[in-house]
């Protein structure tokens, strides 16, 4: 009875081929009929979605399936909440769970890579012949858990709301008082820029913001850098070894100066 797995597999597969040949039905026309009907259903569903999308939306005004397009891309305005297509929501939400400093890599690279390797390797570590779901409890439980967690993450990602810049700007007087720069006009201006420029889509400042992509809390950033260095940092984060954050040079030198003044004033000993 101690035949090797390969021989056993070949024997089982030979039985399968034999059965298909003797008892099977023709792919054409029987299976192909089902396929063709299904193909039509798919195309009709796609057309239906397109029609609903188009008739219910008007330009940038969203309908039940969203807008036809949003405003033109503008690197300058930043009270826009970045949002990927729905099938990346799970990844999008994972970023919230893992935070600064190094663990964010687990969400962006670690988990997707592990999932991909687990998927690719599936036929090589699950090698039993058993196909009945009732006899594959481990596989079924793993599958159900995967589906549930993907579903929950997708739902959380879909319903997550980030604060908009226009909402954050009301916090500026509070920040100014807490950090004691209320009489420094440049710093207040910088704080407003900070609120509307999307900084808090990644960073945290005095409890506001997202803390995504490993961006640090900037409440006391003035302890670490001086004004001049901050301008340089904002112009070219890569110079400081930061390859995640993009350059904010497009804000212009004057704005960068204000922003840096605000950040420089954000120290732990004010108050």
């Amino acid at each position: 009875m101690a035949r090797d797995r390969g021989e056993q597999n070949r024997e089982w597969y030979a039985t399968y081929k034999d059965d298909v040949k003797k008892e099977g039905k023709g792919f054409f026309p029987y299976a192909m009929l089902h396929d063709t009907i299904m193909g039509f259903v798919v195309v009709l569903v796609i057309i239906g979605l397109a029609i609903i999308w188009y008739w219910d939306a008007d330009g940038v005004e969203p309908g039940v399936l969203g807008p036809l397009y949003t405003e033109p891309a503008d690197p300058g305005t930043t009270d826009f909440v970045p949002r990927p297509d729905w099938y990346f929501y799970f990844l999008f939400y994972l970023l919230r769970i893992f935070e600064w400093p190094e663990t964010v890599v687990i969400a962006t690279v670690g988990i997707p890579t592990v999932l991909l390797i687990l998927l690719l390797g599936l036929p090589f570590y699950d090698r039993s012949r058993e196909r009945r779901p009732s006899r594959r409890p481990v596989a079924m439980i793993a599958a159900v858990l995967t589906v549930i967690s993907m579903g929950v993450l997708t739902y959380k990602g879909a319903t997550a709301t980030e604060a908009l810049g226009s909402e954050l700007i009301v916090l500026v007087p509070e920040w100014a008082e807490e950090k004691g720069f209320a009489d420094n006009d440049n710093a207040v201006e910088g704080a407003r820029l900070f609120a509307v420029s999307g900084c808090l889509n990644c960073h945290i400042y005095l409890g506001s913001g997202v803390g995504a992509l490993g961006a640090p809390d900037l409440s006391d950033v003035g302890d670490r850098y001086d004004q001049e260095t901050l301008v340089r940092y904002l112009t070219n984060p890569a110079e400081f070894g930061n390859t995640v954050m993009g350059s904010y040079a497009y804000l212009g030198q004057e704005n960068l100066n204000k922003l840096a003044t605000f950040l420089d004033a954000s120290t732990s000993d004010d108050g």
Binding site: K21, K25, I46, I47, L91, R131
Partner: protein, 262 residues
């Protein structure tokens, strides 16, 4: 009567069969088509096993609508948004083509997942279909990359900022991350070079990879066959009672690998 029939037969021979033979002799295309169409599948396959074909149809819809969109779309930051507006609002049925492409992408991804779920439930990835499964997982990955690269093309706020985040995500990867982010954004800011690069990925490289993978995937499914539902009482390859036939039928049933499958 018999003469007429012969003449008709001659015409069919000359106009249809001869050219087909000519092609088949040189390419094997007719034999290939027969091999694909006139094969048996287990008699208990049913609707659950149409998901793969449904995914293929969704992809072909994307190919067709994508090709039409490419005729009117301009991959340049100054005109991309306008060309999208033009396609949606001015072009005859442009809204339909763009809508089908936009929503077809979601349908395609959903079907990819459903198809994978069905294959998993049926245990259809097991011997001898391991490579079938691997090409399928690669198709899922390239399919999602299609969604990722296509999202930027309308060049609206959603597209732009989602891509900023997406590129930053790639940037967090160890070792390759900064290089990958640099490659994807083509410079310090997301602009014309980025758009052209993503357009090329979305239009040439990824669809080419998907077509190749689908080719292998379809070849393998034709060669290896589809499985019966695992709970089916009459599934192909089911365990037989060990008892050998007796009486007059003894010796008539061949078992094992040596010719039973012929």
């Amino acid at each position: 009567m018999a003469k007429r029939k012969t003449r008709r037969q001659q015409i069919v021979d000359l106009a249809v069969l001869a050219p087909l033979d000519w092609i088949d002799e040189r390419t094997g295309a007719v034999r290939g088509t027969k091999w694909f169409l006139f094969r048996n599948v287990p008699r208990d396959v049913s609707w659950a096993q149409t998901l793969g074909f449904a995914t293929l149809i969704a992809f072909l819809t994307q190919t067709l609508t994508g090709a039409i969109l490419a005729m009117y779309y301009k991959p340049d930051p100054n005109s991309a948004y306008e060309s999208i507006e033009h396609i949606t609002n001015d072009l005859t049925l442009g809204w339909l083509v763009r809508g089908m492409h936009r929503w077809g992408a979601s349908v395609f991804v959903i079907l990819l997942f459903l198809h994978m779920g069905r294959v998993f439930l049926f245990g259809a990835y097991k011997y001898p279909r391991e490579l079938q499964w691997i090409t399928g997982v690669l198709l899922l990955a390239t399919g999602m990359l299609m969604g990722f690269t296509g999202y930027l093309l309308p060049w609206d706020q959603t597209a732009y900022w989602a891509t900023v985040v997406g590129i930053n995500l790639n940037g967090t990867a160890p070792f390759a991350g900064p290089w990958l982010a640099q490659f994807l954004s083509s410079g310090p800011e997301i602009g014309g070079d980025t758009l052209a690069k993503w357009y090329a990925l979305h239009m040439l490289l990824l669809p080419g990879a998907i077509f190749a993978l689908i080719g292998v995937h379809l070849y393998l499914v034709t060669r290896l066959g589809v499985v019966s539902p695992p709970w089916s009482k009459e599934q192909a390859g089911r365990e037989r009672p060990v008892a050998e036939p007796t009486g007059a039928r003894a010796g008539l049933v061949r078992r094992g690998t040596e010719g039973g499958a012929k």
